[in-house]
């Protein structure tokens, strides 16, 4: 379990986060919701080691850890898929998955091993891509998102953070990606999903954590929560 406790972060005059806490358990999808500027991205950046919190702690299985850099986060098994996908459109799926950590022998790329591993991973995630050797530019938005998520899984992480994974997608492709999120849960990963789309959140998450003006503003079990109560927590209207 990954616990974030009492995290605060200030940007100049803006208090982006104020005593925020969050628990993430294996095999659970937690949706992080909140209005624009609520502090969602800032919280994610703290967990992913992109920005340092002013105060607060992160613990993994009860043991306090320091996430001072994205590299630290990776080492601790925290993998983030940012909204801008960070894929190389000119490279194929295989090359994108292994970018920066290509297996080599006598400094030659092991093409066959990489392609085999890519196929196995995509198959296990039930991601359908007809030809994984074409440039990523030729794939649909949903397929690209799936590739980005698959890439995040290569380092065998324990937590996968998804920042607005369905924001730019159509109905069918959104469904594909949500399916993929469910499969991450089945693999026993902890998933933190940021989304503005309450329909998606309700479709896929187990728990909803609401931020408002940088503070915890409510937490719901998705199965028991109504749309109205979540919206009320987001907007701050008396529930």
């Amino acid at each position: 379990m990954i616990s974030v406790t009492d995290v605060s972060k200030r940007y100049g005059a803006v208090q982006a986060l104020q005593g925020v806490s969050l628990d993430l358990r294996p095999g659970e999808v937690v949706a992080l919701v909140g209005d624009n500027g609520a502090g969602k991205s800032t919280l994610v950046k703290v967990i992913a080691g992109v920005v340092a919190a002013d105060s607060g702690a992160i613990a993994i299985d009860g043991e306090r850890v320091r996430v001072g850099s994205p590299h630290d986060a990776q080492r601790l098994g925290i993998s983030t898929v940012y909204q801008d996908l960070a894929l190389c459109e000119n490279l194929d799926v295989v090359a994108n998955l292994f970018l920066g950590s290509e297996p080599r022998r006598w400094s030659l790329l092991r093409h066959i091993r990489m392609e085999r591993a890519t196929r196995d991973l995509l198959t296990s995630l039930d991601v359908r891509i007809k030809d994984i050797r074409v440039p990523v530019a030729m794939l649909s938005g949903g397929q690209r998102q799936s590739v980005a998520i698959a890439r995040a899984l290569l380092g065998e992480p324990r937590l996968v953070i998804l920042d607005e994974p369905t924001a730019a997608l159509g109905v069918e492709q959104t469904a594909q990606v949500l399916d993929l999120v469910r499969r991450l849960r089945e693999r026993g990963l902890a998933v933190l999903l940021i989304s503005h789309n309450l329909a998606d959140v309700r479709a896929v998450s187990d728990r909803v954590v609401v931020l408002r003006l940088g503070r915890n503003a409510g937490e719901f079990r998705t199965a028991e929560a109504t749309q109205e109560s979540i919206v009320a927590a987001i907007t701050g209207a008396a529930a």
Binding site: E89, S101, L109, R116, L122, T123, K130
Partner: protein
């Protein structure tokens, strides 16, 4: 997904080809079409154009600018530009000539020193680009003028250094493969190509990965064989295959293998495709960039030496006039994208073949150089237009 694993990867279904076309993956076909058109047009206008003698001259003329173009491809792949390649080629040729002729050094040592000088110049460009964050356009534009200045300074009053005709350097461009050697080389190339394809196919099958059908493999090997046999037959009917062409061809093949089969090569494409993604993947972007400039200048230096070899001299015009434009045009015409991340080293070979054929053909027709410049510019503009349009198609 299980059924997808059983699908063989089809090389060319009309639909797949159309799909790739629409996404800007035109491959080498426009160039090949262009070459055929050039052969037909100039062949009809002048019966000498397609003669073995002229085609062998063509092969000889290609090597120097082609090598410079190969270097330019290295920076184009990153989406950068090297405007200094012409000047650097001239400067390094002058360094080589001064050391070997005026100072009486061993020519091989002089060549190595000239190449090292090229590498250092590239290093300087790369550091100015990455550390001082100057646009590559400006860095190499300064290089274009600055290195030309240094060339003039080094040449001094005389303004020309002649290389002995029977010396090592001049001999480079007057060495021809015997027919036996040429045919053996052809045989080895085709055999190695076929064998490596077969081995890869075996390994892919063993790993349960899709493979192209056997007939496609046959077509590829036969295609290579036909092209090589035709080229060797034509050139052997004249003086033989020039050593210069073999050197240039080797560089093209070696750099292609490096780009496709090493992590360095893959990272070049990654940096050219999306710098941010490359950086997040942990790639040392700065190092890749510096290396690309080093390669560009070193290859430019080598191209300059080949050019000096053909002329058996260096002078104030070495590396000047239209060499830079031709080298850049060749890379782009051959299919290297100006926007980075797309292109192969064969672009240098194909592109320089197009440009040199046009130049050579118009020379045979005694067309004025004013017209030649305009035609070359038009071809370059056309190639860039195709590149820009296909890029738009690719991201749409």
């Amino acid at each position: 997904m299980t059924q997808a694993a059983a699908i063989t990867r089809e090389p060319y279904t009309p639909k797949g080809a159309l799909d790739r076309l629409r996404h800007g993956d035109l491959g080498a076909w426009p160039v090949v079409g262009g070459l055929v058109a050039i052969a037909v047009v100039f062949g009809t206008l002048n019966e000498h154009f397609l003669s073995p003698e002229n085609l062998t001259n063509l092969a000889l003329q290609m090597a120097a600018t082609g090598t410079i173009s190969l270097g330019i491809i290295m920076v184009l792949l990153l989406g950068e530009i090297d405007l200094s390649a012409g000047s650097v080629s001239g400067l390094c040729a002058v360094v080589m000539a001064i050391l070997s002729v005026r100072q009486g050094w061993n020519p091989l040592v002089a060549i190595v020193v000239a190449l090292v000088a090229g590498a250092l110049i590239g290093l300087l460009h790369g550091l100015m680009f990455t550390r001082l964050r100057m646009p590559s356009f400006v860095v190499t534009l300064a290089g274009l003028i600055g290195w030309q200045g240094l060339l003039l300074y080094l040449l001094g009053q005389g303004g020309i250094v002649n290389l002995p005709f029977d010396g090592f350097v001049a001999k480079l461009s007057d060495t021809w493969l015997t027919p036996l050697a040429a045919w053996l080389l052809t045989l080895v190339l085709v055999a190695v190509f076929a064998a490596s394809n077969l081995v890869t196919r075996r390994m892919r099958l063993a790993a349960d990965l899709p493979v192209a059908p056997t007939w496609w493999l046959g077509v590829k090997v036969a295609g290579l064989a036909v092209v090589l046999v035709a080229a060797v037959a034509v050139m052997s009917a004249d003086r033989g295959v020039p050593l210069l062409l073999v050197i240039f061809g080797t560089l093209v093949v070696v750099f292609d293998l490096v780009l496709r089969h090493t992590a360095f090569g893959r990272w070049m494409y990654a940096v050219g495709g999306n710098v941010e993604a490359a950086r997040r993947a942990g790639i040392d972007v700065r190092r890749i960039r510096v290396l690309a400039f080093v390669l560009s200048s070193t290859l430019a230096a080598f191209g300059g030496i080949l050019s000096a070899s053909r002329l058996a001299a260096v002078n104030q015009g070495s590396g000047g006039s239209d060499i830079l434009l031709m080298a850049i045009a060749a890379a782009v015409i051959g299919g290297t994208s100006l926007f980075g991340g797309r292109g192969r080293t064969y672009a240098a070979l194909l592109g320089i073949l197009v440009i040199q054929s046009i130049t050579n053909g118009m020379f045979l027709l005694s067309v004025d150089s004013s017209v030649r410049y305009m035609v070359t510019a038009a071809v370059l503009a056309l190639a860039v237009a195709i590149d820009s349009l296909s890029r738009r198609g690719g991201t749409a």
